[in-house]
């Protein structure tokens, strides 16, 4: 492990994202108010950061884990893979918002700065190796995302979303902080690298004691990822926020929460220790089953696509938690793969929702009928994304689900696997309801008047859908990267 105070060059992606915020503000002050120009700037920044994340992912020093700032941060393939994920979803959100009618022109720059603020918080979170840093970056991510949720000030739904997000968020992050403090009290260190060693010591009384702090931390994370007992905010917030933000929340912040959860469960304690914590696996398995059941059942009757996708996002959090619950390497790899598949799929589906909202100002399934005739390309892509969300071959969602279920069955959680399978069947129903409206019903007369879909959206939709198909057919390379990341994460 390369250790020194300054290895700051390895944080280049973070620097670039933070720098982009400054550049955006400065160029706004210097008179660039044009949305296109500002969008170009932030896309440029994000793509450069993405490039450097990919480069550092493959760097041999990073594979050996680079410690930064006296162990506050650590750059390893795990963190870099998550940074790639965050950057891609931010990139999508920036591109959505560039053409969105929901975010008004003048304040677009501020919107973008908050978006990049969330991203930088998430990126630091993925690298954090110290509980203090964990909390700081967690709050950095949360505070900006509260603002994003309530961004359209005039809209009461958006204000409600922001308000709910703040209230739930403040409480759960307080609970999480309490859990972190208990962890510090138990182990006498904030450094996550040292924790495994401390718990291995002979005088460490009992792994039972870790159950309480870990549960409390889980509350904070469960809120971000929208797990079962902490999911109440999700539908309202997802429905009320501007659609680009919803898309971003359903992928980005969820991934950030999972990054921390995986690092805590597999990275700080050794695997034997995590598995030795009584009830941990069973509890997680129970929550996973409840999360997906609640999400799927509630999604069945939704008329609003955004709200439906919100509940589906809760259900998907359940599938991912299934992979975490097995508490082994195979499960964690499956979760990472699933996240990637889910990211492309969900962002692709949301692009269609954003594009249609821009044209019709409507998100109701019953109003968006006959889209298959009006927008063939977008509808085909939507179909592929929905198939992938359900988990049908040959899409990335299928492969992701396959790996998760394989890990669960190998571990012997047959009931959990059964619940998962039933849930997949349930989810097919509501995803296909959208398809039915798109393809088997005639477009309404007033819908015909809207102009063609802007070319940019078509390109975006296609470029998010193509990876869904590619990773559904040749996925081994991506899975290999996921394995590399997980093996760099596991505490030795």
């Amino acid at each position: 492990m390369r250790a020194s105070l300054l290895n700051l060059d390895y944080l280049l992606p973070e620097w670039i994202v933070c720098g982009t915020i400054l550049v955006l503000i400065l160029s706004y002050l210097l008179g660039t108010t044009d949305r296109r120009r500002l969008a170009d700037l932030s896309v440029l920044g994000l793509v450069t950061a993405l490039f450097f994340s990919v480069v550092t992912f493959f760097e041999p020093a990073v594979v050996g884990r680079v410690s930064i700032g006296n162990g506050l941060l650590q750059v390893d393939p795990f963190s870099q893979l998550f940074k790639i994920l965050f950057l891609v979803s931010t990139l999508a959100a920036v591109l959505y918002s560039a053409g969105s009618v929901e975010i008004h022109g003048k304040r677009w720059m501020e919107f973008n700065c908050f978006l990049l603020g969330v991203t930088s918080g998430m990126m630091f979170l993925a690298s954090s190796m110290n509980l203090m840093m964990v909390y700081l970056s967690f709050e950095m991510m949360s505070l900006s995302s509260y603002v994003l949720a309530g961004y359209t000030r005039g809209d009461p739904r958006s204000t409600e979303a922001g308000y709910k997000y703040v209230l739930f968020g403040a409480v759960s992050s307080g609970v999480m902080l309490f859990g972190l403090s208990l962890m510090y009290g138990l182990l006498g260190t904030l450094d996550m690298g040292l924790m495994a060693q401390r718990t291995a010591l002979a005088q460490f009384p009992d792994l039972h004691l870790l159950l309480l702090p870990l549960t409390l931390v889980f509350v904070g994370l469960g809120y971000k990822i929208a797990f079962f007992p902490f999911h109440y905010w999700a539908p309202d917030v997802y429905e009320g926020s501007p659609t680009p933000v919803t898309a971003f929340f359903s992928v980005g912040t969820k991934a950030a929460g999972l990054a921390l959860l995986l690092r805590l469960l597999l990275g700080t304690l050794s695997l034997d220790q995590t598995q030795a914590i009584p009830w941990a696996g069973d509890l997680l398995a129970f929550l996973a089953a409840m999360t997906m059941t609640v999400g799927n059942l509630a999604a069945l009757n939704q008329a609003n696509i955004k709200r439906m996708l919100a509940y589906s996002a809760i259900a998907h959090a359940g599938y991912m938690l299934m992979g975490v619950a097995v508490l082994n390497v195979a499960g964690a790899e499956a979760v990472l793969f699933y996240l990637f598949a889910y990211m492309f799929t969900n962002l692709g589906a949301f692009t269609v929702v954003v594009a249609l909202f821009n044209l019709y100002q409507s998100e109701q399934v019953d109003e968006l009928t006959g889209m298959g005739k009006l927008f063939p390309l977008a509808s085909v892509c939507m179909a592929i994304c929905l198939f992938s969300l359900t988990g049908l071959p040959p899409t990335a969602g299928f492969i992701g689900k396959f790996y998760v279920f394989a890990a669960v069955i190998q571990k012997g959680y047959f009931v959990l696997a059964l619940v998962g399978a039933i849930n997949t069947a349930i989810s097919l129903f509501y995803y296909m309801r959208i398809m039915k409206a798109f393809y088997f019903r005639e477009p309404k007369a007033e819908m015909l008047a809207a102009g063609p879909m802007p070319c940019g959206y078509n390109v975006l939709i296609a470029s998010l859908t193509v990876p869904v198909l590619i990773f559904g057919i040749c996925w081994s390379r991506l899975y290999e990267y996921c394995s590399t990341s997980i093996s760099s994460l596991i505490a030795h």
Partner: protein
């Protein structure tokens, strides 16, 4: 068991017990003769004016926020300034540029506030 934490438990018990004792004791000892003068809320010796449920100017909050930002900046700069000489000997200009970056970020924020007209007490009414 873990008697290391027994002292914490004792402290908590003492804390709660102390409060209960302090409230209960005067209740038993003092005569109860309330009058309107006595029941008035204590505001540092002044006579209270009106209720506390009035509307404040929202500008107080934004100005207070800006103030806190620069207040915190000083908290960070002060220790830095104290050890700067010895840092300079060991690490050269790096600490200087670190603080420079920090202040630069805050200055950009200040410039943005200024441009938005948030530093004026009476914000001109503009069309959003």
């Amino acid at each position: 068991m873990h008697f290391d934490y027994l002292s914490v438990l004792v402290l908590v018990a003492l804390g709660i017990g102390n409060v209960l004792f302090m409230v209960a004791l005067p209740k038993l000892l003092r005569p109860s003769k309330p009058n309107p003068q006595k029941l008035v809320a204590y505001e540092c010796g002044e006579n209270p004016v009106g209720t506390s449920w009035i509307q404040y100017n929202a500008r107080f909050f934004s100005v207070a926020l800006v103030f806190v930002v620069f207040d915190v900046e000083i908290v960070f700069m002060f220790p830095w300034a104290v050890v700067f000489k010895s840092l300079y000997k060991t690490q050269g200009c790096v600490p200087f540029w670190e603080m420079f970056t920090f202040v630069l970020v805050l200055l950009v924020g200040l410039a943005y506030l200024w441009a938005q007209g948030l530093l004026e007490w009476v914000k001109s009414v503009r069309k959003a």
